[in-house]
Symmetry: C2
Subunit: 331 residues, 2 copies
DNA sequence: TTTTATAATGAAAACGTTATCATGAAATCC
DNA sequence: GGATTTCATGATAACGTTTTCATTATAAAA
């Protein structure tokens, strides 16, 4: 690969001048510029992003980091797509790290991202008091949190109103006459899981429905978790007549379990899930779900990040997007 | 962030010695080593991957590129997970580029990857004669292709037997008595689409079933494509009694369309899709599908890549994995 | 004409590594 | 006891950029 040096030599100038035309900074004679431009074309010169990155923190190397908990979850895929679309149109590349809900892996990836000298980071940390991430924020790395925040740390954040979304879902079930409503939660370390639980509890109490502890299950935010926890619920002496699931993978696991038990949805048991998916209407039966604007979350987050990169001093923004209850045949 | 220089200063040695203990190369006095190690710990030193990368192509900078056509497709997500797991255990980070089936975007990403000085690349190129990718291969970048190859270029490749997979799917439909079997294809520029079509045609001819051109639809490998093309099929004066869909997004689109028409599956129309998904059994009805070992594909590909990086000269390997027909209720 | 801007360019430092060479001291060999 | 090897270390070039400073030549101002 041709370097600036090659260009300089071929055009008979110094690399300084080449740099000047490359970044059109400073003034350079038209003839020289033309000569350099030609050399660049001839040698198919491509600047080394690595060298750029090394050279100066000040100049943007156009690389963003994205740290997500679970690439298998379509929600994060959509967030990622949103991020990526904005990044792409602004000429940023992204280095994507999926820590699979493994905090050790998360730590390693944060180290790597730091050592790759990224310009900024969009992260959904494993938990709210992630010391390493906090440190990076404090050291001045532009960071935007998505889906979950960072306790006691002033940082841009894009989330949805999880409590309200859950409330609407459960309220919907109640209004349909359901009384034994179960909740299958994701990881309790994740704030959104707790907010969703809060929404669930608030809805029950709003309608004076007693909370039955054995109807609340805490799992791991994954398909298998949804499967086994729903299994437990269905094996209860007095099984629930409705279940509210904490995220889309849990929902799919729960569906699997209900089908295994040959129960009719919604006759025997109703189900409403957090997170809508493109194929939710093709599920058996089509799924009532709380839709998060995942793609938007990604876009907003990336916009905020680019803003912060160009204006590091600006005040932090906490963006709370709305959820939407989409009623289909499962309730 | 502390640099080697800071360490050297604090330990009262030169950076050369620091480098030596860091890479334990050369010999260094035990006492000095201890002093340096302490300094490293004290200053929380982290090597700059960027500087490493810049310094020498020879030493591995532990960064891989992954170029995929469509992150929305769960198949590629699984491939990605396979890649990532192997990369992670071998201490590689990955820079993930999703070109969304947009060749312009693909080109840009290839440039970026090159200029990021990655150690190797796993790619599913938009088409088999991708000149840019070919050039990169020829220039010595270790590359492994997944899901699709590169024409006239000797390169490692991991694919499944698409023709056979499609054949089995269609044969299954035929054996169930279906005769008007439609095929909704993905992008024809993608080899796998063509191989799947070949399998479809081979199966028909094996059982002396005439090919009906209007039952073969070519689309864009996306959800919307599946939706509108299936729509067209169902609006035919003589609609099909079965449909074989070319990938998972197409399948979901087709399902949506069939449901819209209020047709019963499989009574009115049977459907079998290429690509199984974790929630395929939760679809309405549970879906008969050709399963690709996506996660394995990713793992194998990454293993091949790491091999090639450490041994650039070794002969190219073409790995063809088996598909599996999973029969459920949609047929 | 002398001074002063301005335009056009180059030299060189810096970023954080790795790797080569050089140097001195201690240890081993014959 | 001189020659040679081994150990321990440092200086420095190189990777490919950006940026600061210096230098010349020319144009404008006095």
């Amino acid at each position: 690969m041709a370097s600036m040096n090659d260009i300089a030599r071929r055009a008979g100038v110094s690399i300084a001048t080449v740099s000047r035309v490359l970044n059109n900074s400073g003034s350079v004679n038209e003839a020289t510029r033309a000569r350099i431009l030609k050399a660049i074309k001839d040698l198919k010169y491509q600047p080394s992003r690595v060298a750029k990155r090394l050279r100066s923190k000040s100049v943007s190397s156009n690389l963003l980091g994205v740290l997500i908990p679970d690439i298998q979850n379509p929600f994060y895929v959509d967030v990622l797509r949103g991020i990526e679309d904005i990044a792409y149109t602004n000429n940023y590349a992204i280095i994507m790290c999926n820590y699979s809900q493994d905090e050790k892996k998360e730590k390693l990836y944060l180290e790597i991202l730091q050592s790759e000298a990224i310009d900024g980071l969009i992260a959904a940390p494993a938990n709210e008091q992630d010391v390493q991430l906090k440190k990076m924020v404090r050291e001045g790395l532009p960071v935007v949190c998505v889906d979950r925040g960072l306790q006691d740390e002033d940082v841009d954040i894009v989330v949805v109103d999880n409590r309200e979304g859950a409330f609407k879902a459960v309220e919907h079930l109640i209004k349909l006459g359901r009384r034994r409503i179960a909740y299958i939660s994701g990881l309790q370390t994740i704030p959104s899981s707790r907010y969703r639980e809060k929404g669930y509890l608030d809805a029950l109490s709003s309608y004076q429905i007693p909370v039955v502890p054995e109807l609340i299950k805490h799992g791991d935010s994954k398909y298998e978790g949804g499967l086994v926890l729903c299994e437990e619920l269905l094996n209860l002496p007095e099984p629930p007549d409705a279940v509210f699931t904490g995220n889309n993978l849990i929902t799919l696991g729960a569906l699997e379990s209900i089908h295994k038990h040959q129960l009719r949805i919604p006759d025997d048991i109703a189900i409403v899930g957090f997170d809508d998916m493109i194929w939710s209407s093709s599920l058996n039966p089509s799924l009532t779900a709380v839709r998060q604007p995942a793609y938007d979350i990604g876009q907003r987050a990336c916009e905020l990040l680019l803003q912060r990169i160009s204006e590091p001093g600006r005040a932090c923004i906490k963006m709370i997007l709305k959820t939407e209850l989409i009623v289909r045949r499962s309730t």
